[in-house]
C-alpha cells in the first residue's frame, strides 16, 4: 500500500510576502479606546494676552478652577489609565501659580507633558530648568513670521516675547521645542519663513488649522484661508514629514494623498479636552455645552466620563456620511471637522465649511451667522478687534 505523502510545510525562509490590503487603523480608532492616547488640558482661562482668534476665548480667570489637589487627582487618574502624554494649555498655563508643581507631578507619575505658551514666562533661568527636565516639551505659539503679521493677531510686543523665549530655549540647549502657528489668510504666504525660523532655533515647526472656535468665530470669515491658499498649503506640506500638523488638515485629504497622521476626527475617540473647571469636552475646539461630556468632579472622575458619557458613546458610533454620501471623497475627508461646521452654523452631517470641492461654501453663506452657536467665553471685557496689518 502506498502512503499518501503530503508535501512538507514550507520553511519560513521559503515564504514570499505578497502585500495585502487590510482594514485601516482609522476604522478601529473611530470606535474609541478605553483611555485617550493623549489629551489637551487647559489649566486656566487666565491669560496675559488677548489674541484675536483665541480658540478658548480666554482672558479672565474663572473662580471655579480646579484646585491643586483636584488637578493632582486628575493626573493620578491619567496615570492609572496610561495616558501617555498631555498637552497643557489655557489661557496661558504658566501664569497659574502651581503650574511647575503640576508639570513635575505629571512627569513623576508617568505622564509626558507638552505645554503651549506665549513664552512670556520663559526667561534664561526657566529655559535652563526646562532643558534639564525629562519628558517635558514646550510649544511656543506665534501667528506671523514677523512682528507686524504676528502682533496684529496676538498684540503688540507678543512677537518679540515669543522670539526671546525661543532664543532662551535654544541657548539653553533644550533641543527640539515646537513652534506652533495657526494658519490664516495673512500668514500662509509666510510658510517658508516659519520653516526658516524653526530651523534657526533647532525647533520643530507645527502648522495647524484655523477653526471658527472661541473668539475665532468673530474673525473667521476674514481670516480663514482662501481655496487657493488651502491647496498651496496642502502641497507645501506634502513630503515634509518634519513639519507637524496635529492632523488638523485631514479635511484636505480629498485633494489627494493623505498627510501624515490618523486622518480622522479624534474628538471623544482618541483625544479630548479637560477645561480649567474640570469639564470634559470632546476637543479644545468645541467648548460648548453641545460637546460637553461631563466633569472630572462627577462621581467616577475622568475615567467614567471618558468611558461612559453619552456624548462620547455617540461619537464612537459609526457616523453616517449624511449629505456627503454621494461624494466620492468622503472616505478620505470624513466630512471634515465638526467644530468648523458647528461654529459656522452648518449641519454636522454636511460638508466642512472649507470643503475642498466647494460644497461647504453655499451652506456657510446661507447660514444665519447671528444664530450660530456661541461657546464658553472668558474674554476680558475690553472688546478686541482684528487690527489688520500695519
Amino acid at each position: 500500500m502506498t502512503d499518501l505523502q503530503i508535501p512538507p510545510t514550507p520553511a519560513p525562509d521559503n515564504l514570499v510576502l505578497s502585500p495585502v490590503k487590510q482594514s485601516g487603523l482609522g476604522d478601529q480608532m473611530k470606535a474609541g479606546l478605553d483611555a485617550p492616547i493623549c489629551l489637551t488640558w487647559e489649566l486656566t482661562y487666565a491669560c496675559n494676552l488677548q489674541c484675536v482668534h483665541c480658540l478658548s476665548s480666554s482672558g479672565r480667570r474663572d473662580p471655579r478652577e480646579l484646585s491643586t489637589a483636584e488637578a493632582e487627582a486628575v493626573i493620578d487618574e491619567l496615570e492609572r489609565m496610561q495616558v501617555f502624554y498631555i498637552n497643557i494649555g489655557g489661557g496661558e498655563p504658566t501664569i497659574r501659580p502651581d503650574f511647575w508643581h503640576l508639570v513635575e507631578y505629571a512627569v513623576d507619575h508617568g505622564v509626558g507633558v507638552k505645554f503651549s505658551t506665549n513664552g512670556s514666562q520663559i526667561d534664561a533661568a526657566v529655559a535652563e530648568k526646562l532643558a534639564g527636565m525629562d519628558y517635558v516639551d514646550v510649544q511656543i505659539s506665534i501667528d506671523g513670521a514677523d512682528a507686524d503679521t504676528n502682533d496684529a493677531v496676538r498684540g503688540e510686543g507678543s512677537f518679540a516675547t515669543a522670539v526671546r523665549a525661543m532664543e532662551h530655549l535654544h541657548d539653553a540647549g533644550f533641543g527640539e521645542f515646537k513652534i506652533s502657528v495657526v494658519m490664516t489668510r495673512h500668514n500662509i504666504p509666510q510658510v517658508d519663513e516659519f520653516k526658516a525660523m524653526a530651523d534657526k532655533y533647532d525647533a520643530q515647526l507645527r502648522l495647524t488649522r484655523f477653526r471658527p472656535s472661541g473668539r475665532g468665530a468673530d474673525s473667521w470669515h476674514e481670516l480663514h484661508p482662501t481655496d487657493q491658499q488651502q491647496r498651496d498649503l496642502y502641497h507645501w506640506l506634502l513630503g515634509r514629514d518634519d513639519v507637524l500638523t496635529g492632523d488638523s488638515f485631514f479635511h484636505l485629504s480629498a485633494l489627494g494623498e493623505a498627510l501624515p497622521g490618523l486622518n480622522l476626527c479624534g474628538a471623544g475617540r482618541v483625544v479630548c479636552l479637560i477645561d480649567p473647571l474640570g469639564d470634559v469636552y470632546a476637543c479644545p475646539f468645541v467648548l460648548h455645552d453641545e460637546f460637553l461630556a461631563g466633569s472630572v468632579r462627577d462621581t467616577g472622575g475622568f475615567q467614567k466620563v471618558w468611558q461612559e458619557s453619552d456624548l462620547f458613546r455617540e461619537l464612537r458610533e459609526p457616523q453616517s456620511a449624511g449629505a456627503c454620501a454621494s461624494c466620492g471623497h468622503f472616505d478620505a475627508c470624513q466630512g471634515g471637522c465638526m467644530a468648523a461646521k458647528f461654529f459656522t452654523g452648518i449641519p454636522l452631517d454636511g460638508p466642512d465649511p472649507e470643503c475642498v470641492l466647494g460644497h461647504g461654501e453655499p451652506l456657510v453663506a446661507a447660514a444665519d451667522q447671528a444664530l450660530r452657536p456661541v461657546g464658553q467665553d472668558h474674554s476680558r471685557p475690553t472688546p478686541v478687534k482684528f487690527l489688520g496689518r500695519k
Binding site: 519560513p12 510576502l17 478601529q28 492616547i37
Partner: protein
C-alpha cells in the same frame, strides 16, 4: 538598530505597552514615537522575547503558525528600527 534574527531581543525599558482590543499601543517615552501593535499575538511576543535566544524560538513557543513568521519578523524589525526593541 539593524534587525538580526539570530540574536535575542527585549523591549526597551522606556517603552510603555498599553493593551487594547486590537493588540496594543506602544509609546517610547525617550524618543516619543508611537506604534500600534495590530495583533494580540504580537503583544505576547514582544513581552516574552527576552525569554528566548532568537525571535523564531519565541514565535515557536507562542504557537505562531510558520507561514506568518515573515510578517512577524518584519514587525519586530520595524520595532527594532525605532528603538522599541534592543538587544537582550
Amino acid at each position: 538598530m539593524d534587525f538580526d534574527a539570530t540574536r535575542a531581543y527585549r523591549l526597551h525599558e522606556r517603552v510603555a505597552l498599553r493593551p487594547e482590543p486590537f493588540g496594543a499601543l506602544a509609546y517610547h517615552y525617550g524618543n516619543r514615537r508611537l506604534n500600534f501593535l495590530r495583533a494580540p499575538e504580537l503583544v505576547t511576543l514582544v513581552e516574552t522575547l527576552a525569554d528566548h535566544d532568537t525571535p523564531r524560538a519565541a514565535f515557536d513557543a507562542a504557537g505562531i503558525e510558520s507561514r506568518r513568521w515573515p510578517s512577524f519578523e518584519k514587525a519586530l524589525a520595524s520595532l527594532a528600527a525605532s528603538d522599541f526593541l534592543v538587544a537582550a
